[in-house]
Structure formats: structure tokens, C-alpha cells
């Protein structure tokens, strides 16, 4: 009896699964980068496979969310906000997958003195995404405390900016034994990883507006 299906529940479930897929994608990026930095090729390749699946999974859930929203017109007043939020978050897995694939294709030479820096920046970016996803979950259920998570996301993003700047100084240090081409590649990877936290910050500012719109 399809007509008796609770589409509200279906939508809630799809949003939950979508957020899970995004969180998993960000975690996989962290593990993938760690594996690459440690030279664990097999583990790294597993992460590439995993993130491709997770990105596909997230896309499928996003399509389902849109379908349920449009087909059943469940939340007319909120649907635009929910769609905008979910759409904006889709970039998280796109960037995560793209970054890992670039590592696989370009194989940047990370000199030992920069390994920890790349590790830290990836970890902080992941933290920013984690705080954002928690914030989105809170927005969906208990929106009065969502501001705490928005602040956390912004703090992590700010940390990433600092780490990124310091990393760039190290990359372009004259004493670093790398060619300019290699340095430019490293710089690009620093930007890519930091880009994840930039997306988190951008979505967090949207969330702040949507939270304001929901308060009565």
C-alpha cells in the first residue's frame, strides 16, 4: 500500500543517510591522505574506491531528497532552504573525491618536513566538516543550539587558514629541496585540502541564515 507510506519519515531518513554519506566521505579523505603520507599504497587505493562509492551514495540520497520534496510537497515553506543546504553540502564529497583522485594521478612528492603539516591541515578540515554536519543535524531537530556548531565550524576553518598559510611559507622556503614545479603542485594540494573547510564555512553561513528564518 504505497499511498500509506509516510513520506515525512522517508524524507527524514534520506536526509540522515545523506549526511552520513558526507561524513563518511570526509573521513575517507582524512584516512586516504594519511595513507598517502605514510606511503601505504594498498590502503590508499582502498580509500579511493571507498570515496567513489560514498560520493555516488551521497548523490543518490540527494536525488531522493529532491524527489520526495518535489513529489509530495512536504515542506513548502522550508523546501527551498533544505534543498539549498543539501545541494551546497554536496560539494564536500565532490572535493574529497577529487582531492584523493588527484593524489592518485599527480602523485605529489611530499617531503618529510611537510608530512605533519599536510596531516594537520587535513585533520582540521575534517573537523570543520564534522562540526558542520553536526550543526545541520541539530538544525533539523533542535535549532536553538545550532549557533554553537556554526561557531565551531568557523573556528576550525580559521585554524585551517593559519595552517595553510604556514604550510605555504614552508613550501616556498628557499631551503626546501624541491623544484618550483613541485612546490606549485604542493601548494595546489594545500589549497585543495583547505578548500574542504572553506565549503564548510560557506554552508555554515547559510545555516546561520536558515536558523534565523526558523526562529519564530
Amino acid at each position: 500500500m504505497r499511498i500509506f507510506k509516510d513520506h515525512n519519515k522517508e524524507l527524514e531518513m534520506e536526509m540522515d543517510l545523506y549526511l552520513n554519506a558526507l561524513q563518511k566521505g570526509s573521513n575517507t579523505l582524512l584516512e586516504g591522505v594519511k595513507a598517502y603520507l605514510r606511503g601505504e599504497t594498498e590502503k590508499f587505493n582502498e580509500r579511493i574506491k571507498l570515496i567513489t562509492e560514498q560520493e555516488k551514495e551521497a548523490d543518490e540520497h540527494l536525488v531522493n531528497i529532491k524527489y520526495v520534496l518535489f513529489r509530495y510537497n512536504l515542506v513548502p515553506d522550508l523546501s527551498a532552504d533544505i534543498l539549498e543546504l543539501m545541494d551546497a553540502m554536496d560539494d564536500i564529497n565532490d572535493i574529497a573525491k577529487e582531492t584523493l583522485l588527484d593524489f592518485q594521478v599527480i602523485k605529489p612528492k611530499i617531503v618529510p618536513s611537510l608530512i605533519d603539516d599536510f596531516g594537520h591541515i587535513t585533520k582540521k578540515s575534517n573537523k570543520a566538516v564534522e562540526a558542520l554536519i553536526k550543526g545541520v543535524r541539530i538544525y533539523l531537530t533542535e535549532f536553538s543550539t545550532v549557533e554553537d556548531y556554526i561557531t565551531k565550524t568557523n573556528l576550525f576553518e580559521s585554524d585551517v587558514d593559519t595552517l595553510q598559510h604556514n604550510l605555504k611559507i614552508k613550501i616556498f622556503d628557499e631551503e626546501l629541496e624541491c623544484t618550483l614545479g613541485e612546490k606549485l603542485v604542493l601548494n595546489k594540494f594545500a589549497d585543495k585540502i583547505a578548500g574542504l573547510s572553506d565549503i564548510a564555512e560557506m554552508v555554515a553561513s547559510k545555516l546561520s541564515v536558515f536558523r534565523f528564518k526558523r526562529s519564530i
Binding site: 515525512n8 512536504l74 515553506d77 533539523l140 531537530t141
Partner: protein
């Protein structure tokens, strides 16, 4: 020929009903329809059904009060009074002035009293005027209380946004049905109240048990006129209310509709009146009040509950202006109309 005359004379009341359905009923589901929480069709059906129930079941209290103010005893006189009030509402609305059918009908009845040479019961008139002043204030108080309860509920329960939307939709439907019932019970007096003493309908007894009184039949007719107004004219008004005039979120719209419905209910419920008076408590007088002014009061109440920002004080001035101007203009038009009907059309307007 007599039937034709009755239909013509009742047409003024039916027009009032149609106008009420087109404009005031839109305040009930305006935001819900404007924000697409509820379809117009659903809103129109709920409004029509509950307005008719309210009018037939609970409409006698406010009508009796109008009867105490002036017992119009000729069909032509009732027509003149009703038509004058309708004309006043139409004229003032066109000029963008705040207007209430309740205030217009009271002015027109007083006009009939003056024309007929009857003394207006000042205690009833004062009671009615006090109620008008109290209406937006009470609506604001109700809105503040409901707002706080809803706010507490939202902030202290972890309800998913999707479920919250579903509950808001149900809340809007229930509050809307209650609002429509209260509107029917309170404002049917404006539509058909002046025709009570000259009602052309006789009581109908169904299966020797249920009596469908002539007054109830009159109110049913008025209720149907309101329903026709809802279906034929309110869609545009609802969309305007939902999208431009008062930009309310669905949840604040729920607060406004519920607060307004409560105000109209307390000023029309005979059950509540009897309960309070039998317990020696001060009771709310049964008086037709302005739904639009209750809405403005409720919106201001929410503004106050939010900390007093964005309160349009000019609205208060406009309401006060309407309390004096509307009955005054309606009274003058009523006297002129009664004169014309009696002296030009040779109709008996006073028994």
C-alpha cells in the same frame, strides 16, 4: 410578489455575508494558503463548513445584543440598515480606510433608532464600544501567551523540521477551523442580525425531536452567503494576505489565527457567558467584534513578545479612527437610506 420583495430585502444581508466571506475569511487561512502549506480548495471547504456551523449553532448570542441595541421591526428597515452598513464598508475599504462590518452595522442600527425616534440603550452601546477597544488588546494578550507556549514547545522539544512542518500544517487547519467557527458565530449578527425580528422563515420540526428555528434558517442562509464569498472572492485576498500585507511565518500565523479565533469565540459563546455569570464571574459581553482588528492586535502582541521591535504604531491610530468614523458614517448613511426608502419608494421602514 411578496417572495420577490423578501429576496430583494434580504439581498443586502447576503451581500454583507458575501463580502465577509471574501475578505475576513481570508484572514483565517491567508498565510497557510499564501505559503502553500494548505491548498486553497482545502482552506475554502474548511472555512465554509465551519463558518456555517458557527453561524447556525452559535450565532444567536451576538445577534441578541444587536437586537437589544435596536429591534428593527420592518423588512424594508432591516434592508436599509444592512445596505447602509454594506455601503459604508465598501466605500471606506475602497479609500483604504480601516473598516469593520461590526462597527458599520452598529452605526446603521443607531441610525434606524434615530430615524424611528426610539431611544438607543446607552448601556448596550457603551458595552459594545468597550468591547471594540478591548478586542485588539485581548487579541494581543492571547497572542503573547500562545506565542510563549509555542516558543517554549519548539525550543524544548527535539522535533525534526519535517515533522514540525507537518504539525504546523495540522495546527493551521485546526486553528483555521476554530477561526472559521468563531467568525461564523460572532459575525453572523452583522450579516443577518437585523433581519431576526422580520425573518420570513418558520420553525421546522424534524422527526418530532429536532427544531430548526427560523432564526437558524436565516443564519444558515447568511452562512451560505459567506461560503459563496469564500469560494468566489477570497482566493486573491488569501494570496495577498499570505504574501504581502502581513508577512508571517506559518507558525506565527498559527498563533495569530488561534488568538483571533479565541477573541471572537469569547465574545460570542453563550456557553462561556452562562458559565461565567452562573459562577458570579465577570463575563465577556456577546458582541460582534472586528476580526481584522483582532488580527492586528494579535500581530502586535507577537511583536511585543519578541521585544517590542517592528511595531507599527500608526495601526493603533488607524484602529481608533475606525472606532469613531465607521459607525458615524454608517449612521448617517442609514438615516439617509431610510428617508429615501420611506419617502421615495414609499416603503414602511418602522413598525
Amino acid at each position: 410578489m411578496e417572495i420577490l420583495a423578501t429576496v430583494i430585502f434580504l439581498s443586502a444581508g447576503l451581500f454583507m455575508g458575501w463580502s465577509l466571506g471574501g475578505n475576513d475569511a481570508a484572514n483565517i487561512f491567508g498565510t497557510a494558503v499564501g505559503t502553500r502549506m494548505i491548498s486553497f480548495r482545502t482552506a475554502a471547504i474548511i472555512t465554509s463548513v465551519f463558518v456555517i456551523i458557527g453561524a447556525v449553532v452559535g450565532g444567536s448570542g451576538t445577534s441578541d445584543t444587536l437586537g437589544e441595541l435596536g429591534a428593527i421591526n420592518k423588512m424594508a428597515g432591516a434592508f436599509a440598515v444592512s445596505a447602509s452598513a454594506a455601503f459604508t464598508v465598501m466605500m471606506m475599504s475602497k479609500r483604504g480606510l480601516p473598516v469593520s462590518t461590526s462597527q458599520a452595522i452598529v452605526g446603521a442600527i443607531i441610525g434606524w433608532n434615530i430615524f424611528a425616534g426610539f431611544q438607543t440603550d446607552t448601556s448596550v452601546a457603551v458595552d459594545i464600544a468597550q468591547t471594540w477597544v478591548f478586542t485588539p488588546i485581548l487579541a494581543a494578550i492571547f497572542a503573547i501567551i500562545i506565542y510563549w507556549i509555542v516558543k517554549y514547545f519548539i525550543e524544548h522539544t527535539k522535533i525534526h523540521v519535517v515533522k514540525m512542518d507537518k504539525y504546523t500544517r495540522y495546527g493551521l487547519i485546526i486553528a483555521g477551523a476554530f477561526g472559521a467557527y468563531s467568525l461564523g458565530a460572532n459575525n453572523i449578527a452583522n450579516v443577518m442580525g437585523v433581519f431576526i425580528n422580520v425573518s420570513p422563515f418558520n420553525d421546522i420540526v424534524i422527526a418530532n425531536t429536532i427544531t430548526f428555528t427560523g432564526v437558524q434558517q436565516l443564519f444558515l442562509l447568511g452562512g451560505i452567503a459567506i461560503a459563496v464569498g469564500v469560494f468566489t472572492y477570497s482566493k486573491k485576498v488569501m494570496t495577498t494576505v499570505g504574501n504581502s500585507v502581513f508577512k508571517l511565518s506559518p507558525i506565527t500565523a498559527f498563533v495569530v489565527v488561534l488568538a483571533t479565533a479565541l477573541v471572537l469565540f469569547v465574545f460570542s459563546s453563550e456557553g462561556l457567558y452562562n458559565f461565567l455569570t452562573s459562577n458570579n464571574l465577570p463575563a465577556f459581553p456577546l458582541v460582534p467584534v472586528s476580526q481584522s482588528q483582532a488580527v492586528i492586535g494579535a500581530i502586535m502582541g507577537i511583536g511585543l513578545a519578541k521585544g517590542g521591535r517592528n511595531i507599527d504604531l500608526s495601526q493603533i491610530g488607524k484602529i481608533g479612527f475606525g472606532w469613531i468614523l465607521t459607525p458615524l458614517i454608517s449612521m448617517l448613511i442609514s438615516i439617509v437610506a431610510l428617508n429615501i426608502l420611506q419617502n421615495v419608494f414609499l416603503q414602511s421602514v418602522v413598525g
